[in-house]
């Protein structure tokens, strides 16, 4: 298979999968089979590109010339390669998990669910491999629209409100700000191609760089930079597999991935650093990082807590981009992969707990760890990875981010990163502690009969538990194989 074919296949496999899923909707087992086969084929197609990209190749494929000089065009570079690998790989795990979750909770409209999921993945692949800002924008919008039916899946008034927030912020920011930024870039640079070193050098200067950066950063609403973060907690109304793969991996990572792409390939890190306009972004990112962590502390609903944790962790990536240094960019990009693996584990666990016990509030989860040791064990591993402790993947991204901050002498940012890690400990570990160490609540009166028998293991369905153990194991693997991630990413910051 030629690399160009593999690129196009990566977008078309999920599309074809969506069609097949829709056709096979009447036979659930066949339908889920199609989903898993599609996910596996997609992963293989994506993986077949890795060696080429590792060897320094930048395979390309053009779809169609949409506007004069602005084709829909794909080019695989390391950052996109990593993102595509993460998203497609985790889709396999998530597909298995979805079977357990959706059936375990008797969710309605499952065919629509799987179809939209496949479409969302096709959009994600388009974003990952986009060769110019136009292509990226096209798939960025497609991702918003294909995930809308997933967010409003339940069809309740609450879901409808959440859908409004979701669409309003994401579509509003991208059309209102990002499109303007893209058109402006096209106007002054005459190109939208992602080019090493950026395309804006000498085209714009002074405070206007800051204005353009502002348009981009807030135009990319999916990066959930405060105050445009409200859509992410709102999206938690969706079934947990959606929160897990889309709102911890594909959609939000598409946001910060776009941030990285814009900073590295549109502005160019040297240009951005020399302009001095990255400073405000640094502070916004740091503020988002801390405030979101603090809000997370106050949330008793597990998914809401995880959502705010995601907002905070996304800000790490933006922080890395805003540092505009070699280590900052490497650290931020690594964070995309590391956080994805950790956070999907946590969401899987939240969903497994819900499937097994129908509990959503952390305060109700006392003692559950003993009933669900695998789930809570995985939760612990995921948490430690998010916090950034070795031997888990998350430690590397934090390490490089701190290096980046040190490199530019941003002592304040080092302090912020450290403080944030402490906050992570404060909002994640109590969940595990409560599960394992506090005795199960034993209300003396009514609930007693309903309390589970001691000692027995009452886990969620196997389809739920196996994927979450796999991703937890992935967090460990990422620690030991971070070297290859590093070597993959290194060329993007090479002068």
């Amino acid at each position: 298979m030629t690399p160009a074919a593999a690129i196009l296949l990566s977008v078309f496999i999920p599309l074809a999968g969506a069609v097949l899923i829709a056709i096979s909707g009447r036979w659930p087992n066949l339908r889920e089979g199609v989903t898993i086969v599609t996910a596996t084929l997609l992963f293989l197609a994506v993986a077949s590109l890795v060696s080429t990209v590792f060897a320094g190749g930048r395979p390309q494929a053009t779809l169609i010339e949409m506007l004069p000089g602005l084709p829909l065009f794909f080019e695989v570079e390391p950052l996109g390669m990593l993102f595509a690998l993460v998203a497609s790989g985790l889709w396999i795990a998530n597909s298995v998990y979805s079977i357990g979750y959706m059936r375990g909770n008797n969710e309605a409209n499952q065919t629509r669910f799987y179809v939209c999921f496949a479409l969302a993945l096709a959009s994600t692949m388009g974003i990952a491999f986009a060769g110019n800002m136009m292509t990226l924008f096209v798939f960025y919008e497609a991702l918003t629209l294909t995930t809308y039916p997933l967010v409003t899946h339940k069809g309740t008034p609450e879901a409808m409100r959440a859908g409004r927030t979701y669409l309003g912020i994401l579509l509003g920011s991208s059309i209102g700000l990002q499109l303007l930024a893209i058109l402006w870039t096209w106007q002054i640079a005459g190109t939208l191609d992602f080019t090493a070193g950026g395309i804006l050098t000498g085209k714009v200067s002074g405070p206007m760089v800051g204005v353009l950066l502002l348009l981009y950063m807030y135009g990319i609403g999916k990066a959930a930079l405060m105050p445009l973060h409200r859509w992410l907690p709102a999206a938690m109304v969706a079934p947990t597999p959606v929160s897990a793969l889309l709102h911890a991996v594909a959609v939000v990572k598409a946001g910060v991935f776009t941030v990285m792409k814009v900073v590295v390939y549109i502005f160019g890190i040297d240009f951005l650093r020399d302009s001095g306009q990255n400073q405000w972004l640094l502070y916004i990112a740091a503020a988002t990082l801390l405030i979101a962590s603090l809000v997370a502390l106050t949330k008793d609903n597990l998914k809401a807590r995880l959502a705010y944790s995601t907002i905070s962790q996304l800000a790490y990536v933006v922080l890395g981009a805003a540092l505009a240094t070699r280590w900052g960019v490497i650290g931020g990009s690594m964070q995309i992969a590391m956080h994805a693996m950790g956070k999907i584990t946590l969401f899987f666990c939240a969903g497994a707990i819900y499937t097994a016990t129908h509990k959503t509030e952390i305060s109700e989860m006392t003692g559950l760890g003993r009933l669900m040791p695998f789930t809570f064990g995985a939760f612990l591993i995921g948490s430690l990875s998010i916090i950034g402790l070795p031997p888990l993947g998350g430690s590397w991204s934090k390490w490089y981010l701190m290096l980046g901050a040190a490199e530019t002498g941003e002592i304040l940012m080092i302090a912020v990163l450290m403080l944030s890690s402490l906050l992570n400990v404060a909002y994640l570990l109590p969940v595990v502690g409560r599960g394992f160490f506090l005795p199960a609540a034993r209300p003396a009166s009514v609930g007693a009969a309903a309390a589970p028998a001691r000692g027995g293991i009452q886990e969620a369905p196997l389809f739920c538990v196996v994927p979450l153990c796999m991703t937890a194991f992935g967090c460990v693997l990422l620690f030991f194989f971070a070297d290859s991630v590093f070597r993959l990413l290194e060329p993007i910051v090479q002068p």
Binding site: I64, E65, M160, L167, L171, I175, G176, L180
Partner: protein, 493 residues
Amino acid sequence: MIAAHLPALQIVVPLLAAPLCLLLRRGALAWGLALVVSWATLAMSAMLLSQVLQDGVISYALGDWAAPWGIEYRVDSVNAFVLLIVAAVGAVILPYARRSVAHEIPAEQHSAFYTAFLLCLTGLLGVAITGDAFNLFVFLEISSLSSYVLIALGRDRRALTAAFQYLVMGTIGATFIVIGIGLLYMVTGTLNMADLALRLPPLGPNRTVLVAFAFLTVGASLKLALFPLHIWLPNAYTYAPSAVTGFLAATATKVAVYILLRFFFTVFGFSFYIGALTLQNLLIPLAVLAVLVCSTVAIFQDNIKRMLAYSSLAQIGYMILGIGMATPTGLTAGIVHLFNHAMMKGGLFLALGCVALRVGSVRLESMQGLGRTMPWTMFAFVLGGLSLIGVPLTAGFISKWYLVQAALEQDSWMLAILVLVGSLLSIIYVWRVVEVAYLRPAPPGAAAVREAPLSMLIPTWVLIGASIYFGIDTSLTVGVARQAAIMLMGGTP
């Protein structure tokens, strides 16, 4: 031989077919004839466009009376494009009309309906093709009078007042146009547009010409429903039969925009337009107001047909905005949007027609749960709505792209932002419908609703499909529009 007479046939065929429809009496036969004729006109307009793109301007002397005295049909890339739009929409809507008209109009009036429809088509095509200013007025009246009839055929009794209102406003507009043309004839002694274009510049600053210009501008603005001369349009669109609304929304206002373009750029000439009155200062604020005010009003409409009518007014604002900027990119944006909007709004109104057929009402509350019961219709509506918003890979995105680009070229940041704000407002009004159709269950006790028949779904999807296709492959639309814009700006394409 035949090919040489294409410009005449383009008009004569539907014009002669119209009374035949009336003679046929039987509705089905009349429909069949109208259908064949509409497809023939589409074929002819497609041939004309390809001829123009290949060989340049076609000049056809009607009855062999030479140009400044006889009536000249003059086809260049601008009006060949408009001809194609009108003919294509007509050809798509007629197959649709059969079921829709059978449902909404009493059987004994069917042959009259198709007669009026063909006359309206003739008039619109005639306005586009003619190179003679007075002939343009005649065709404008043909199309207007027949469209009053078409609107008055609406089932709702309010259709009559709507048609009357349109009659009054439209007649004022047409009168203003004919006064303008008369004044021009007074100073130049010619009615041929190309001839006028030659004779006007040497006159220099001339009060009569200025007055003519003012009359023509106001007249055309009335016909194209430029804010604040738009009051007739929402009622007319709301109460007209579904097929008529789709047809008029996609063609009538577009042809009026074409009249404006033709007089501003060909007859008066680009330099007159810029120099004498700085019409930019008049058109752009009105266009911006149209976009903002009408989009906002659309948000509060519970009758979805009326909502789309207000949305049309906003979209007309975009076209005028592009034209008003008077730069090649701005004009390109205006002309591209002319085409794109015809496709998407036509498709949207047809989708609503399907709802009207099956549900009997197009009010927001009666659309609850339709996402399930009429999946194809509602999905077409969603796609059309996305195109209206200007989501990438839809035609609407291409229009917005050029419009914002045109604004940025002139460093008018405010305009660029306003265009995008308009898009954001359209998200709100489109999504109101989406939420009701998909996220609210059908009310208990509501009659079972079936999907619309194929004869209506296919035309709807043809237009909606076109509004997606021309968002992906823009070589035809942008190519022709750019060529037309350069030609109108006085350059050689």
